[in-house]
Subunit: 252 residues, 6 copies
């Protein structure tokens, strides 16, 4: 099967980090098709970044599906554009935020998401409400900007570790979810240090996407996820093609 991963921001290094994680957890027969949304912002920090990233991301995902993708992963913890992607595409789509929270929900009753900046906290809280998990989860910000996560690994590790300790002490956290695609390499180390399951959303999304493909499930064509209707003069396809951004496509 071909698993399409799209990084909605324009930072190649993050895409590569995500691909490394994907390869470690994916089944032997899974091919990873990773794309970077070079027309988007360098990172997704807040709702403006998210809104700017979506049109280019949707274009990349449609191309991936046209080229045979069996499932899609949106590699941003905000699950940017998840509803639109499900409406546009037929193969199943999973966001890494949703996947991380769902995985935590299978092994713990209460968990804490540790994300980057506090501007993302209300976005993740809103998502948790929509996913029905708000009563089970707390969101904490490490206040490390996305693009600095890898610049100073020791500081990143120290800040995440401090938030995890606080989550266990104050939030009654029984598991931790790492709330950014850029934290994906730290899960194992943090789990050992704090003796608590640490979920990486990227890895969770890969395995759940494989599961949905194994189940033969496709996104429904009814309700919110119904495909866009054509319009008289200019249909949804045209609008998609009319965003002018060049995106980059790396099939691995």
């Amino acid at each position: 099967m071909i698993l399409s991963i799209v990084n909605p921001n324009a930072t190649h290094a993050m895409t590569e980090s995500v691909v490394q994680t994907a390869r470690m957890v994916a089944a032997p027969g899974t091919r990873i098709d990773a794309r970077t949304n070079t027309s988007g912002p360098l990172s997704i920090e807040g709702s403006v970044d998210g809104a700017m990233a979506v049109p280019g991301m949707l274009e990349l995902m449609r191309a991936a599906e046209a080229e045979g993708a069996d499932a899609h992963v949106i590699a941003c913890f905000d699950d940017t554009g998840l509803d639109a992607a499900r409406s546009l595409l037929s193969a199943p789509v999973i966001g890494i935020g949703e996947a991380g929270a769902r995985a935590a929900g299978f092994i713990a009753r209460r968990f804490t998401i540790v994300t980057t900046l506090s501007v993302s906290v209300p976005i993740l809280e809103d998502n948790l409400i929509r996913y029905g998990l708000a009563g089970h989860a707390t969101v904490r910000a490490s206040e490390i900007p996305v693009l600095e996560l890898e610049a100073n690994p020791d500081r990143t590790m120290a800040r995440l570790s401090a938030e995890i300790a606080a989550a266990i002490a104050h939030d009654r956290a029984e598991a931790i979810v790492l709330g950014c695609a850029g934290m994906t390499s730290l899960a194992t180390q943090l789990s050992k240090r704090h003796d608590v399951p640490v979920v990486d959303g990227v890895a969770a999304a890969i395995t759940f996407a494989e599961a949905l493909v194994a189940l033969g499930l496709r996104t429904t064509a009814h309700g919110l996820y119904a495909p866009p209707r054509g319009k008289a003069e200019k249909d949804g396809d045209a609008a998609l093609a009319n965003q002018n951004s060049v995106s980059e496509n790396t099939v691995l």
Copy 2:
């Protein structure tokens, strides 16, 4: 005061209809600055259309604020891009969906929103949950596409009237909200026919925007609505300017 109204879709006729309503309800000292998002889809029907419309819409709104707008109205009942607009801008921003629901909430405990197509129903229901009004409202679709609302006024009137009658009979609706900017001219007539208050979201948004300006309130700069952070290589402004669409600007 200058009140900016942005139509997130590319259909000029809808912008003009909105401007007519705005002029009827606006205070004498209010100047209407209406803009049409010509880079967007012809109508907003579902989440793909919504996602495609937002970047161009934000660009228009930022231009309007730079040119002196004291408040902004997003003239799509889905409240497309409302959070991003509040984050990007400093003047208050009101969506016509939120305004219509809030106005109904001041005069009735239960109300029904009558919108266009059923694909919009879950979007409006999600918004109602976020606005805290889900327990008080029902959403019904008239199944008339946005662009056909004005093509056949008799059919539109008959369909809306049938849904309003059903809402009163089955939803215990005590008031009606018209759930599309394109229905804005029919409120008075429908209210008389069914002896029930009928709220037009466009008119409501205009008067609430005026109210917020009178109160001297600006959108908070904290939390979800904090302005986007600049980024090392390419900041949010650049991304906004990097969407290539030409938008049209009509100051009336």
Copy 3:
């Protein structure tokens, strides 16, 4: 238009303070008709005061409507008797608590209400649940009794300021709502000091009432707000006029 403001408590000084605020924010063509419920308690602190205030308040509001009021404002942050007033009257009715919370909701996702005494906290929390805003708001008490708010302005300012600082630090408050009609003159100063929007419920209620009149909306006559039915022997009017009958006591 004539805007009726009723102070449900018996303290004239509070009515006058409210009127001053109203005049500052009201549109040029708005006449303010202010009434003090001299049959009520000196302040509304808790549910007993609230219950005792309502019959006299309703009588004043009915008189105001008979004399031409186009809209009504209940100038108590508990929104005392709001449902009964909407049922009794045809012109729109707005409580200052509801108005303050709704105004904050247009410019912030999370806000904190700073009220007088802790006995009011659960009343305001219950109202927030009914308005659908409980998930977005925190209520704090300054522990200054209503009638002492103006007695020692420096202490009032210091206590409110301390609670606002705590709200920003601990509640993630992005905006503040002043939770008592008696605090109405302090909003601007507190907003500057803490660099956060501060909403005054009195001012918000005035402008929203003007908005509803501009929209031509009247309270629905259906459901909870249906006008009281006449009764065979003694109708609602009679009961309104008949608050000092002797009650009968049968110990069995």
Copy 4:
């Protein structure tokens, strides 16, 4: 023990019907002290009636407590003035609406309340939300006015029976609560006819009040139920006794 029952409306026949029920279910040692609020409306139909009834009702309840009442029952299914009564008094207070719903909750997961007029439906629904039972209950109106319940017993029986049948068929009702003090004599007969438990709120309130007295529990003096604070010039007591002052009207 002395159990005070107050009928918040002015209709003696309803008080007597309530007393008959009370005597059938009360323990041998319980003395019933029943009072009719002759200063209130003839029946409580909607929020205006409710608001008008409370001051007189509170006065009667305070007198009852002064004369030795160990517990209080408010004999109106709307639980009119329940919070204020709990704040004013020290002995436990139970409303017949709350009692009926709680009793049903002990023996069924879903139940339907059958009340008089549809104007009471949203009031009871709001109460159910506050009691945490909204997800378990449906409210139906028989559309028989309170004062006609006993006028035509056959019609009353037929209407209630039809609503109970509908509740079982459509609401998945597993138990029924009779939603008006005036229906108190019909519970047994309806239960037999429909083979489903039928709860009478009056009887439930009597037995729960006895239970609270047996437990030695008094209403808390903290939070919402804290007793009213005295005020400098005119305290809560004075206000209670002072319901016919002339109100002042200043048109500005």
Copy 5:
């Protein structure tokens, strides 16, 4: 009337303590039939203990009903097996956790449950959600294991007292519920020390069970509480009696 109390754990001393409380609060005509589930774990601490206790407990309760019990009390604060018991039996069944919370809800708006170990906290929180009381209650653990409650009364008193003080200071608790059948003798003393109502769930369950019997109410036979259907080969009765069969294991 005969009131059956079943202690789902195997510790006789706890049964005896419960019986002492029951006798103090029960009406003169109430006979107490107490049974100890000697097939169960020595205490119920967490969901495994709970699951292991239920089959034996149900067997005891069915025997009690066959021998004439008019109502049942499950003497474990987790309300272990409450739904199954209501389905199996016809007489009303009350858990001491539900009873304690309901009693507190009649006299306070917010209360705190002080239980034994933190493993029980999420169980009690889940129950509060189901009972509709989650928004009104906090659960705290004293971290005293069930079987040590009576071993060191001074330490027990000190720990409970510390949690009650914290509940009043931090949870805005207006009343306290003692969250374990083993704490039943301490309620009065703790109430005096902290000047706050303290509810003992055992006592509350006794009086509410008596109330339901006085009301003539039996558990509904519809919905979740419908009695188990007989099965072709082996019905529910057989399964109840058949807890030591060998299970079959097929490794494929």
Copy 6:
């Protein structure tokens, strides 16, 4: 990896049907270890059956883990004993009800569960509340007893098909979940007939269990899922092995 599947009821035919489904969807390297709880009831219909099944089921699961199981699936749509199993075991545990609902949630916003008998409807509704999916799902009963599902395949197919048609028409269902392990072979056929995704909970649980193993996640040892504490005289293990002791009965 070894995947343990336990059928909590005593019917071998259902276990075999589950194993067939498991083999079709499981990855090549997955070994299926299926066990039938012969000490349990023949089917799980309602809460009494569920309670009786759990002790034997837990014993089987503990044996499976001791023999090397890497993950566990509980093959009853009620997710019987899920919390207790997670507490007792260290490998991840998934119930087929939870898995089916989660899978549907990845591909649809609204779905309907079609189960066997109406007695299971409130159990599944309670589970959906706990999983945070209640707002997205409807539960319908086909009224076919578990053990008759395979007896008359045509009737089963017709009844399920009728409920699916009703779900699409009335519940706005965008996907269907088959709510019983015994329906596992019908998913594909029903999906084609109604042109809507049909999720089989058994298959979903298999693939999600494989995903959790691939992620290296184990159930947390904190909070609700903390392992049972040993007890002085008789620990949890002893209780597990000790289901046929004689219980003691003291009538006082």
